[in-house]
């Protein structure tokens, strides 16, 4: 029986690299341990982890490191999407063998496909494995609500979706209204910008950045236990920070590293792999001012 139990905050891990672009294993382990320490249910290794800049060997190494460091405390979702169905199936099987709890996959996007081709792609992968798949609905490769429901009916492993096409708030409402008996379980993403608005519309969890997992978990739990207004007031304090992270993937990678350095999770020299446009030094000062105001330094 496929695992349909995943709910809540699943931060997307930031990938620690040193100045030469080597993965810093101790930092990755520390990050996983730090997240698990906040009572969070799972983590993801995905686009925000620069998974698209890793070699096949490194992908396997990172997944194994994270699964080991999680010590059963966290579910681990691995992004195994690829432009070709065959390679995608290989990645999926390998991730399953290495202990991934679920996969995350977006439709091929280099050559745009029709809905029926996207369906064939997802079903072929789903049939090759025994763990669930988060279908990823992002601007460059969308899984519109009607297609998502159709896919969920096509195979039991296609039972999660991460909705990230803006505006995500009405997209959630639309998706949830169509879900019916398909059993599709929707998650949010987009850096958690609309975390609670999405929750109010039926989102069952979210995959935000890994830099303030404590904040996400706290407001998510607060919200779920009925303290909606408090949760939202709390969460609004982080809007300026979320906005600063959300300036495109390149900037996000740097800003995330800088936050994790200040919070004591990554070593001082951590930086993303190239290409990743580096925000100017002024950005770092602006970020520090925000972190100080939010009392996040060293914690």
């Amino acid at each position: 029986m496929v695992d349909r139990s995943m709910r809540g905050i699943f931060p997307v891990l930031a990938m620690p690299f040193d100045a030469d672009g080597n993965i810093v294993v101790e930092d990755l382990q520390r990050e996983v341990d730090w997240i698990a320490g906040h009572g969070i249910p799972g983590v993801a290794i995905a686009l925000g982890s620069e998974v698209y800049k890793l070699s096949d060997e490194e992908r396997a190494f990172v997944l194994k490191t994270v699964v080991d460091a999680a010590k059963g405390r966290l579910k681990v979702v691995m992004n195994t999407g690829h432009e070709g169905t065959g390679v995608s199936i290989e990645y999926a099987k390998s991730a399953q063998d290495l202990g991934a709890s679920a996969l995350m996959i977006r439709p091929p996007s280099f050559a745009q496909l029709s809905g029926s081709e996207v369906t064939k792609y997802f079903v072929a992968i789903a049939e090759a494995i025994d763990i669930p798949i988060f279908m990823q609905d992002v601007v460059g490769s969308q899984v519109p609500p009607p297609l998502a429901v159709q896919l969920a009916k096509a195979h039991e492993n296609l039972c999660y979706i991460k909705v990230e096409v803006a505006p995500s708030v009405p997209r959630f409402a639309d998706l949830v209204a169509r879900t019916g008996a398909s059993g599709l379980i929707p998650f949010g993403g987009s850096g958690g910008q609309f975390l609670l608005e999405e929750a109010r519309r039926g989102s069952q969890g979210s995959m935000p950045w890994a830099v303030i997992p404590d904040v996400y978990a706290r407001v998510w739990d607060d919200f779920q236990s009925g303290n909606e207004v408090d949760a939202e007031i709390q969460y609004r304090r982080y809007a300026a920070l979320n906005r600063t992270i959300a300036q495109g993937m390149g900037a996000a990678m740097w800003v995330n590293d800088w936050i994790l350095i200040r919070r004591g999770v990554f070593q001082e020299t951590s930086q993303p792999r190239q290409p990743a446009p580096r925000p100017d030094d002024q950005t770092r000062k602006e970020l520090d001012a925000m972190l100080e105001e939010l009392d996040l330094i060293g914690k």
Binding site: P167, P170, F194, E197, R243, Q247, T283, E286, A289
Partner: protein, 300 residues
């Protein structure tokens, strides 16, 4: 020109007709809170107005403003001749400046875009804001080249994300230019989301929506007085609201106007079709945010 230039929301009644009384009230409120200028542009749903309506809105705003602040009119169109026509018409009706984005329906090579701006620039006697947006970009080097072609092409509004490095790059090229390209004046936009980050990198103003002009003017003035830290800390309080205002596909238009209704400026929040309408939860969420922010009652 510098400072806070809000883009007006266009008030429509439930049938989609322009409510000129509300438009006048909106303009008067802007001026009362101390804005430095007013724009009629994309956020005004200008692309959903007929040509006579464009004229009526501009005339109404110019009359109400009565010379107290500059009025900017967006006159961009998909063809050069139509853009010239809109631009000359806007100048005749009293616009103090224009804002124009490159034709985008059929993407054009750089040479054609530069020529487009040059021809429009020559056709009027007022300055033009080049508009750099994700779907119709004016990259930094092109902006300088355009500025060289005519003295009217001396402003740019930088809105292609990420705007912060883009503003810095445009400013650096401008500062390196030893000719008319060096006269380019930079504004931010994109809802004012990165107001201070942009000011620090060479912008001299911004064009946010029209729902919290009082807040923008307040933080701008504090910044001008040298209180950077206080201005920014105050501005961060509005981060969640500004994020809510940036939901595309017409949600933004509805939400602007829901706020203007609650602030006593508009009678109706109607946005012209097509526009995704917020659900009742979104209104609830908005009211929660407004409650927490305790915005001041506009003076009558």
């Amino acid at each position: 020109m510098n400072g806070i230039f809000p883009i007006l929301a266009t008030p429509f009644d439930e049938k989609g007709q322009i409510d000129f009384e509300d438009l006048e009230r909106e303009v008067e409120w802007m001026i009362n809170v101390g804005v430095n200028g007013i724009g009629i542009a994309v956020a005004s749903e200008i692309y959903k107005l007929t040509d006579p309506e464009r004229d009526e809105v501009l005339s109404s705003v110019v009359k109400q403003v009565n010379g107290r602040v500059p009025v900017i009119m967006n006159t961009g169109a998909m063809g050069t001749d139509v853009t010239v026509y809109y631009s000359q018409r806007a100048e005749e009706l009293g616009a103090n400046a224009l804002m124009i984005r490159p034709p985008s329906f059929i993407a054009m090579p750089a040479g054609e875009v530069v020529e487009f701006f040059a021809r429009v620039g020559e056709s009027v006697g007022i300055p033009i804001f080049q508009q750099d947006q994700a779907t119709a970009q004016v990259p930094p080097a092109m902006a300088i080249e355009i500025a060289r072609r005519h003295e009217n092409l001396c402003y740019i509004k930088v809105e292609t994300a990420p705007t912060v490095p883009r503003m810095a790059e445009t400013a650096a090229l401008r500062d390196a230019a030893t000719d008319a390209g060096g006269d380019l004046i930079l504004f931010g936009g994109a809802g004012g989301t990165f107001l201070f980050e942009e000011l620090r990198r060479g912008s001299v103003g911004t064009m946010p929506g029209s729902v919290i002009p009082d807040v923008f003017v307040n933080v701008w003035e504090r910044w001008q007085d040298g209180d950077e830290e206080g201005a920014e800390a105050e501005f961060r309080r509005y981060g969640a609201l500004i994020r809510t205002l940036k939901q595309p596909q017409g949600l933004d238009n509805w939400i602007y106007k829901e706020i203007l209704v609650r602030r006593g400026i508009f009678k109706s929040a109607h946005a012209r079709h097509p526009a995704v309408k917020p659900d009742r939860f979104q209104i609830y969420e908005l009211e929660q945010m407004l409650d927490e922010l305790e915005l001041e009652e506009p003076e009558a």
